[in-house]
Symmetry: C3
Subunit: 296 residues, 3 copies
């Protein structure tokens, strides 16, 4: 698991512009390796984020709402010989592809060059009311620098609710100093005809410097949500300090500005990192953060 | 804990006949051994089952309901010198007796030769609204092949709600190739005058084969729920494969058929098992499953 | 964590005078030590108490309420060189001061010489509806026998709800056979102008005997809640047996009696303790308990 905490600033916040942001995540895992070489296991995630209602009732008021750490649904898996199968609260092919989140910066690992649109992924908190009977399947295969994945998520496997199954596919390949990746998702997040395509490439200029280019195309029946986003990012490491930056463009209707960008600095504490980040959003907000992230 | 997942088929399902079934169970234990030789400890269970609402509100609608892993109430215990005392979310004498569940088959460990009626047991999920203030006590004594148990569960120890305390007793004894067991419960599951009696015997014909006979008599004021169930079961192991089967009869009013039966096959994966099961229920449904079960 | 269970008696209980009382507490911790000598970590607490609703809805009825173990919000910390910083569900300076709870007796660690008034502390269960967006900060410094602490808790850091931040300070110092402590809290528990002051001293008469005196002054705008409480306590150990006692006076309006007292006996089981306690409350109730407490 990991922990992170720090200060977060948003120039356009309705109430306090500066707040403390924190998360603690603990993965509760169990597994057994069989004589046949196949490992079976499972995971339930325990997570707390600040300012989050964990136990909400139906009245739309805050009365009796409560806030504590939350438990995810479980994911079970079998793995061996380069193949991994996941069932339940499974990862998805689209969300698991390489490079997709590499433009993120700061102790919150965020940025406006992230994927657009909605799609399923491992759910860190309980399923919401529309997905109580959700069931996911995921299969991946790895060999050398190659990874391929396919996943299917049925938001309601009982069939009582009419809905669409999300299907996604992804591949990535690392060779020498380069990594390339592609992913596709249909009926994204269970929305009929919602589709997203991702293409990405990263190149290691040297041991200390990387540069990458990401392309996201999200398309659904409701045109107002359509967007093509292109993200260029890079990072450079000098001793304990890593500089990071990105610039992203998005053609979605209604954005105040079709360009967003951000700069970040990480300082390696030898087992943790101190990170600062500052962004200009599509809504022309200034967003900044300074905090610590540690893994245990 | 353990994990299990697989396909489940029910010929008479209202919606999807085939669904994926899964559970992940983790027992969170803590204990300390004192200088006096007595060990004190406790357990809280963390469990996720698919298609389960974990956080339900009071409006009878699915709005705001959520589904994640759930935490049980705690059980505390003291054990030493053959005696074990449990307090809180305690096991019960009736539910803990030997043989009672030995006719179960498949990765879901199920069958129609299981005990009839309702009775208390360790609760894997939070207590329901009728049992918020439930308190159980359990004492067992073991010596050689003998086990004796007594338990008491008060569904509301505050006394604010009028209810009945469940009392249960059980004994079992293993000698040579035979095991015999008997159990009795009064005010079963807190229902006044609900009583259940269990008698069972199992015999190991050889290292590879077992046969057993179970008798369950459940009786309460509402005669429609009364039933006498008799279960005959057996299993036979050849190398990594174990064949299992049972046939059960139940005289409860209103059953479409008073006989149910099932066949199962386990394949030992050396730390996990692949299991298939097929049943014909009292309601003349065909129920089948194929999946994996692993313990960690 | 720890477990405790036993019998509890209250002469004035509305329903059952005698009930079984139990708690299981497990601290789920994670931490990492960095090369710089600073340790980063976090804690989420898992706890079950009997007779507690864990999942309550908004209808004011027990329908659909449930009771299981509960998860706290998370606390994250950084510690090194005698300094400790906590964020989130942080401890507070007032609650963490030495001596404050030293008059407690019995397996439930309770007594009527405990602090008066309300104030924030590490929350073992989810925040309630008034504190969903609560955020705490805590800094302590230790050197030799000295400890100093300061904490700030904002019941709603989003600023959407008008409320007061609780500020508290505390110091304690152990030298030779004596320990002295002082603590102060303003806007206690987020109540404007609610203030509490604590002064305490303890003296070890010998290896086997201690005596202490505590002074608590709680003051808020609503005078009916004001109280000055003074507690005198002592304990004496003979082999495995420790005798404990306290007498406390409280000048709050409306108390049936301004004096309360209690006697307790602990028997050391070598890794656990068997404890009995009996009290006379300010309401002239007789309260008694007998049970076991063990840490793991």
């Amino acid at each position: 698991g990991y922990g992170r905490f720090g200060l977060n600033y948003n120039s356009d916040a309705v109430f306090n512009e500066s707040q403390i942001d924190m998360r603690m995540r603990i993965n509760i895992d169990g597994s057994v390796e069989t004589d046949s070489g196949i490992t079976f296991g499972g995971r339930i995630r325990l997570q707390y984020d600040e300012n989050t209602v964990s136990d909400n009732d139906s009245d739309g008021l805050v009365s009796n709402d409560r806030a504590g750490a939350q438990l995810s649904p479980a994911m079970l898996y079998a793995t061996g010989f380069g193949v991994r199968v996941e069932v339940g609260n499974a990862n998805t092919a689209y969300d698991s592809v390489a490079l997709m989140y590499n433009s993120e910066i700061g102790y919150l690992d965020r940025g406006f060059g992230d994927p657009n649109g909605n799609y399923f992924s491992f759910n860190s908190t309980p399923y919401g009311s529309e997905e109580i009977n959700r069931m996911g399947l995921f299969v991946s295969y790895s060999a050398g620098g190659f990874n391929g994945r396919i996943s299917l998520v049925d938001p309601d496997q009982t069939g009582a609710v009419i809905d669409e199954e999300e299907l996604s596919l992804s591949v990535d390949y690392a060779f020498g100093q380069a990594t390339v990746a592609a992913a596709y998702v249909d009926n994204a997040a269970g929305v009929e005809n919602a589709q997203a395509l991702f293409l990405g490439a990263e190149y290691a200029i040297s041991d200390a410097a990387n540069i990458g280019l990401l392309y996201f195309d999200y398309d659904e029946d409701l045109d107002a949500n359509d967007s093509v986003r292109v993200t260029l990012y890079g990072n450079y490491t000098m001793d304990a300090i890593t500089f990071k930056g990105y610039v992203a463009t998005d053609d979605q209707d209604g954005l105040a500005n079709d360009t967003a960008y951000g700069l970040g600095v990480d300082y390696d504490l030898g087992g943790a990192r101190l990170s600062g980040d500052i962004h200009r959003s599509y809504a022309e907000e200034t967003i900044a953060g300074l905090g610590v992230r540690f893994d245990f």
